[in-house]
Amino acid sequence: MSDQHAKNRNSASSHAAEAPAPAAGLVAAIRGASAEIRLTRLTALRSDFPEAAAREGGVELLLEESGAADLRRMAGEGGEAYYFSADSMTEAYALHLFRIEEKDPVRLVADTVRDDSRIYPRPTDVRVFADPPFSLPAREVAEVVARMEMRPDTADIKSGRASNGALYLYSDRFLEAAHAESLIEWIEVGQKENP
């Protein structure tokens, strides 16, 4: 397994020499799931590959030593971990899937908003959470926004509305309020009037 940056899945394969026998099944399972754009849970690997799980160091060590340079691991809550092949999806996309798998919609929204505010930087249209890959029901999105206002760990997430009423979120760790307000109006209204 490698920490190098994900190569695109259509670019030359980054598979190392085929994984040694005990790890081969695990690697194939992860790659297969990734090809279908799914993450593979550590707990699922343990139950699907009981012999591997029973070895010293278990599934994790086997994968660690598999030499499969395309595989990536993400640590979740409560000891869970997720694997994917960077030949099939980018780390950015895997991160979305990871947040969905973790089933904490408040964190999913907050962390996605933080990433947008930090990376681009831009405020986030709440409607994106109703679309794939998030696909949260619209009512749930509204609830999440309401809950975020109460949670101290999401105190940095602020909301703003464009003149047409559209709701956007941003993190004030990365975007100042005035800047965010201006961007919201530009993205939602100005840009569309100036195609």
Partner: protein, 707 residues
């Protein structure tokens, strides 16, 4: 004639007064590249200052360039140059249309058509390879563009490509278009064709465009091109998270994704993921219908259409059955402003009407407007016509300037209710010049003079007028800080410049964009993050010159400035870098004339400087900084935040420019071009450097050349 490559080598000249049809040599103009550049040279040489747009002495030039017809991606564009009726000084300007007209013209053996004079009766021009005839158009006159195209096709066959005017052009409505295909409109010069009694041009060619270079090298270049091309407006990031993508941006035109369909196709076509390595899905990336209308447009979309040799296809072709209720064909096509400008006329919003839910009305309403504007051939002055109407209506001015019975005859209640059938009445009055109201399409400058618009109109941010010349903001400070703002200062109409936006709007993270800006312009400071602008610097001035030049270059080659230049790429393995040398590489291979990127940029700067000289000669002004390059006041006034307090310029959260800084910007851009730093007028040294000593001499003889 010696073999020519890229160019066909021939310019068609048609004098409608005398009926004379003649041939000119393209290559004598080759220093001006093609299309717009060559047209500027013809306008300088042949149209004297003081000629008005509708006078027989005015010329209208339909131009292609050396890349048109070669298969270079997005090279199916026609550039049209003439005097602009809506401009206060009838400034020379260009309009552009896509479709298949330009390539057909090349295949018929012509690079350009120069039309002059005025026919005694309505005529149309029939071009079949080297057979050119002026035909009687009396039966076409009075018809809309759709019928006109069908009539021309009935004579020439359905392969013929037709550019035509509608009733608006015939009636010399200043805001009128020339259109080809079902939705490709060049705004501004329809009336010029009308003034010449020229209803249409039909063209059919059986030839080809020859390429000088090696085929393998061409194929390699094409491959490189396809590795950097993105979606429409060169947006290289998808609008939703995709397994292949590192980045995404909801406001991207790269809307293709799994589960999104051309819903009215039979069977429906899924756009799919559109991985950028898959060349077969390039045309599925830009599902423009949902971008322009929202998700409700999916079910109306038959497919995406566009211009010849364009893999992007940015025109939505819709099937809107509700249109038949109004006696219109249910198939309708358009893009961007074509949909937005009817929405702008409906400035109170489009609501549920005639049994359409609000969501459906959002598609049906603009579709009605687009159909009418496209048939009558009405232009919108880049959406400004709606804001002009809004001002006149909301201030009560309309009630004062219109006779009471005329005012009462306009179905204002429909406008108020958001019933888009208001547009049927609106476009008819405009196209047929019915009543005082029709002056709404004189163009903002002439309209404001006639109806006495106040300073509140010119200086109010809400009306978006960029210049006292009467053209609106178009990718200016709101998107590009000083770069966008300065680009808009050099036009005689809305800037129509996307060179900067196809980079600034790529949707890549700003840090990455700044790195790329550093590589192209010498410093990351050439680019600021949106709404986080910093004071002017020389790198921004370089960016401005580059953008102005590239737009001129694209309209000369002719390639689509809604895609080119290729500053960025969707591929991570390219580090998202594009290739700004692609135009020169294609030009050299196509024509056999070897020009580096820098040399081609210099040729474009020559053309732009000539455009500047024509503008100066037309205005008769020594000081273009004062007479031409200024903006309306809102552009440089501090904005107020939500708390009502002014946000100082150059702090986060404002797009406002600052007067002194803009003046510095003008100076720096003049310096980049080698123009006079005080007045912005081309100097003798600059003109001579570009081989235009004759232009310097002419300006000097009029007392316009800076000392």
């Amino acid at each position: 004639m010696a073999a020519t490559y890229g160019y066909t080598g021939k310019i068609l000249r048609v004098n409608l007064t005398t009926g004379k049809i003649s041939t000119d040599d393209t290559l004598k103009y080759k220093d001006f590249i093609g299309g717009e550049g060559m047209a500027m040279k013809i306008m300088w040489d042949e149209v004297a200052p003081g000629v008005t747009p509708y006078a027989p002495e005015n010329k209208i030039v339909f131009g292609t360039g050396p890349l048109c017809g070669t298969g270079v991606p997005c090279s199916g564009r026609t550039n049209i140059t003439s005097l602009l009726p809506s401009s206060p000084f009838h400034g020379v300007s260009s309009s552009h249309m896509g479709g298949y007209f330009a390539t057909e013209l090349k295949y018929s053996g012509w690079d350009m058509i120069v039309v002059e004079g005025k026919a005694a009766n309505p005529v149309w021009l029939r071009i079949e390879d080297d057979k050119v005839k002026i035909e009687d158009a009396r039966w076409m006159w009075g018809k809309g563009i759709f019928d006109t195209q069908a009539m021309v096709a009935s004579f020439m066959g359905k392969e013929a490509q037709v550019a035509a005017i509608g009733q608006a052009g015939e009636n010399l409505v200043n805001l009128s278009v020339i259109r080809t295909g079902s939705s490709h409109s060049a705004g501004g010069h329809g009336g010029v064709m009308g003034s010449k009694n020229l209803k249409a041009i039909g063209v059919k060619g059986t030839g080809s465009v020859k390429i000088a270079g090696d085929r393998k090298a061409w194929a390699e270049l094409d491959k490189l091109m396809m590795s950097v091309i993105g979606a429409n407006n060169q947006m290289v990031v998808p609008s939703s998270p995709q397994p292949w993508a590192e980045f995404n941006d909801k406001s991207s035109r790269w809307t293709g994704r799994k589960g999104l369909y051309w819903g009215a196709a039979n069977p429906p076509v899924e756009t799919g993921e559109c991985d950028p390595h898959d060349m077969q899905s390039v045309g599925l990336r830009t599902m423009k219908a949902v971008f322009d209308f929202g998700p409700q447009a999916e079910k109306y979309t038959v497919r995406m259409g566009g211009c010849s040799h364009c893999p992007i296809r940015c025109h939505s072709q819709l099937k809107v059955p509700q249109l038949s209720k109004y006696g219109m064909d249910e198939y309708v096509s358009n893009t961007c402003m074509g949909w937005f400008s009817p929405r702008g006329v409906m400035f109170k919003g489009i609501k549920a009407f005639d049994g359409n839910s609000e969501a459906d009305a959002a598609v049906v309403g603009p579709a009605i407007g687009a159909k009418l504007a496209d048939d009558y051939g009405v232009w919108c002055n880049y959406g400004q016509i709606g804001r002009d109407l809004q001002y006149a209506y909301e201030t009560g001015l309309l009630k004062k300037v219109l006779p009471a019975d005329e005012y009462a005859s306009i179905p204002w209640e429909k406008l108020e209710k958001g019933d888009a059938t208001f547009l049927i009445d609106f476009y008819e009055r405009v196209a047929f010049k019915k009543g005082e109201f029709s002056h709404i399409a004189d163009g903002t400058y002439w309209l404001a003079e006639r109806w006495k618009f106040g300073d509140d109109f010119w200086n109010g941010k809400v009306y978006k007028v960029w210049s006292r010349q009467g053209f609106p903001v178009h990718h200016s400070n709101e998107a590009g800080g000083q770069v966008g703002a300065l680009i808009s200062c050099f036009s005689n109409r809305d800037a129509q410049n996307h060179s900067h936006m196809n980079f600034i709007g790529s949707k890549l993270p700003i840090a990455l964009q700044k790195e790329i800006a550093g590589e192209i312009f010498g410093s990351p400071d050439a680019l600021d993050a949106p709404s986080d602008y910093k004071p002017m610097n020389e790198y921004k001035a370089r960016f401005v010159k580059w953008s102005l030049g590239r737009s001129m270059l694209h309209n000369s080659l002719t390639v689509c400035n809604w895609m080119w230049p290729m500053s960025v790429s969707p591929l991570k393995e390219r580090k998202y870098r594009g290739d700004t040398g692609l135009e020169a590489k294609f030009y050299s291979l196509a024509t056999g004339i070897q020009l580096s990127e820098k040399e081609l940029d210099e040729a474009a700067a020559r053309c732009f400087t000539l455009f500047r000289a024509i503008t100066q000669r037309q205005m008769g002004q020594k000081d273009l900084r004062v007479a031409h390059d200024q903006t309306t006041e809102w552009v440089t006034h501090a904005e107020k935040g939500k708390d009502g307090k002014e946000i100082p310029q150059f702090t986060k959260g404002t797009i406002a420019m600052e007067e002194k800084d803009m003046e510095l910007g003008r100076t720096l851009v003049y310096r980049e071009f080698g123009w006079d730093e005080k007045t912005g007028a081309p100097t003798r040294a600059c003109l001579e450097k570009y081989g235009m000593a004759d232009v310097a001499q002419d300006l000097a003889s009029r007392g316009l050349l800076p000392v």
